[in-house]
Symmetry: C2
Subunit: 197 residues, 2 copies
């Protein structure tokens, strides 16, 4: 599927606001998660491994959300409390593209700008707009941070499902872990007063 067909996906679009941090601040954040040029290479390797497995990965992640009412709730209609299937489907396609983008290193300015857009789309400031739905208006930040674990740990089996050596799998896995931590950190931006973040 080409990017243009993914509903609500706007990475690189002119109407995505610029990131509120400069490259130097982003570089410091990368250092805090020990992210290096090597990780960029291992993420590219991971991208090749994960591409044909994206649907399976999304099955695992959506299964996890679906197994927990307090998580599924964020995809629910604000009034009826019923999960909105079309909303789930649209987000699923973007989530698949997010796997590709996570592995599409190096991270350029468009990518960085879009991380803050992703953050806004979790926060009451921007949730539901991209999909024009009347779902619950806000995703609590605690679950964004908490999700670092499942989104990292569950990728391991998919990375192992390849011809790469154990050492390469380990390095892909750590590059992924660093990138998820880095991205979730960026997504927390709209939740916190600027001077405290």
């Amino acid at each position: 599927m080409s990017d243009e067909q993914i509903p609500g996906y706007t990475l690189g679009d002119d109407d995505v606001p610029e990131a509120p941090i400069d490259r130097a601040a982003f570089d410091r954040l990368q250092q805090s998660v020990m992210f290096t040029d090597d990780d960029e290479e291992y993420l590219q390797m991971a991208g090749d491994v994960l591409e044909p497995q994206i649907d399976d990965i999304l099955e695992v992640w959506y299964g996890f959300v679906g197994d927990h009412d307090f998580l599924l709730e964020y995809f629910a209609d604000a009034d009826s409390g019923e999960p909105i299937e079309e909303y789930l489907d649209r987000v699923r396609e973007r989530f698949g593209q997010w796997i590709r983008d996570t592995c599409d290193t190096p991270y350029d300015d468009d990518w960085l700008d879009y991380q803050f857009e992703i953050g806004r789309r979790h926060h009451r400031m921007g949730k539901n707009e991209a999909d024009d739905v009347d779902a619950v208006e806000h995703i609590h930040m605690r679950y964004l941070v908490g999700f670092i674990y499942p989104i990292t740990a569950t990728i391991r089996d998919f990375l192992e499902n390849s011809d790469h050596s154990a050492e390469e799998v380990e390095k892909m896995y750590h590059a992924w872990f660093k990138s998820v931590t880095l991205q979730v950190t960026l997504w927390t931006y709209p939740y916190v007063p600027d001077e405290d973040w």
Copy 2:
């Protein structure tokens, strides 16, 4: 060293405010990081492995902070910009105890209350008070979240430095990863409006 001798360490003290979330909310957060009873057991195992290595672990972590001016800055005098050695030493002792507390499962109400105290001590709301220092007044939240990676990844070698099987090391490591993610999530509480967290 007994708890009483650790400077500024107040887990279990009457003057630690109660956690702003109840056990049901804590349980949901544990579910979001896939934390189970098994993890409690593997953390206890990890505690035995890590106890004699605590000084070495702290050397690694303090080395990481010391290698990055933008991190060391949080331990610096607000006026002179020079690192405050006594402050670094006091925090180091508490950081050692934090390793023990992380492995001292199950997590009771005193432990949960204290996680929010740790959060306040990173935020401008409470930083420097426990050590009565005039250091930089606030630790930016982005580095709390970012630190999930180094504090997790660097523990692996220390867990391997034991007689446990590769499978047990793996399970201890994942229990640690879940717990770090869980705790950092709790520490972000004071940074975010209550209804958004």
